[in-house]
């Protein structure tokens, strides 16, 4: 049989695990172009976004291939609502769901003639900036330590009360 103290300790550990899991903070970061050739693109979703109209003009890149400082793929235009969903991160859950998205903000001059679907090649120098969502490790660990310490003291006080 478990004693009250052991049950309390197990509860504290479980609560800490749940809290720590829900405390991963995400932040939108600007990624250097030099990283494009180094990342594994298999599990990633690439979006080409008009740098002048980032919330309305966006294309999803399918069958993507990256060679010789160029991106080749089949582009399919997103609806306005979908483009808004891709462009805006409202909360932590959005950040977590967007962690495999790579947003390629491209020169409006290049995208001017793009239709709803097309197969095209985009040179790296036409990409103005690249944005990704990644965990903010400093904030995540800081919050975890603070919450863990608070939980430790709280359950410590409760355990003392039981004894």
């Amino acid at each position: 049989m478990f004693s009250n103290k052991n049950l309390l300790l197990s509860g504290a550990l479980l609560a800490c695990c749940v809290l720590l899991h829900s405390c991963i903070y995400y932040q939108r970061y600007s990624m250097p172009k030099t990283r494009l050739n180094k990342i594994n693109t298999e599990s990633l979703s690439f979006y080409v976004i008009d740098a002048a109209h980032p919330l309305t003009k966006a294309w999803y890149v399918a069958e993507m291939d990256m060679k010789n400082q160029r991106i080749t793929g089949f582009l399919s235009r997103l609806s306005d609502i979908e483009a808004l969903e891709v462009g805006i991160v409202r909360n932590r859950r959005d950040g977590k769901n967007s962690r495999n998205d790579v947003l390629l903000y491209t020169s409006p001059r290049l995208l001017m003639g793009f239709g709803d679907t097309l197969t095209t090649t985009i040179p790296f120098d036409q990409i103005e900036r690249i944005e990704v969502h990644e965990p903010d490790f400093t904030k995540t660990l800081g919050t975890s330590i603070l919450m863990g310490t608070a939980g430790f003291f709280l359950f410590g006080v409760l355990a003392l009360g039981i004894n």
Binding site: S30, T138, G142
Partner: protein
Amino acid sequence: MAQRTKKLMDDSEISPGKWLLFTGMNTQLGEIRIPTVFFGVDLPVGPYKSIGLQLGTLMRSDLNRFQESAIRPGSFEIAGCLKFFLHGKLSGHRSGVYLGPDFRVSRRNYVFSATDFNFPPNPNRPTFQTKGATLRALLNSGWQFRHNQVLVETSLPIGIEMNTTNLPFVQGQFFYDQYAGRKLVILPTISIGYVFQ
């Protein structure tokens, strides 16, 4: 309606330095606090990993009539750790936060005596000296801030320690309980360092 974006460098191409020299201090949280001053060297292995070695001296404490134990000079600690810096898989940016295992071995010289709450205190209170060894296995989490060549680091290793002493076993004696067996240890640490490129 632009989103706030942080600009980052690709740290996979930036040298973290050939070696880093540290000095700092840690102290154990709990009933027995033994501050330790240490010097350390960090050897980066790639952009996101480093191996750390430390040599520290345990600061001596004085035995008074309310204290049953004290540390004598000649006590030292050797530590080895690995630091895995958390980094973005896409951006390649190395954050200042790291995690990793930390192992510490210390050789301690103790002086013990029974507490004396009488007044006036007994000037000839019997004491005896002994040696002990401590092995600590910790999970280290820390944060390193770097400005050019200078860095400041703070960490909070948490784990267990195993003590052995040459003390005669006396069940219920305070000093035996404190310096023998296994127990949880939390070791807040602060240090400053210099990066040699």
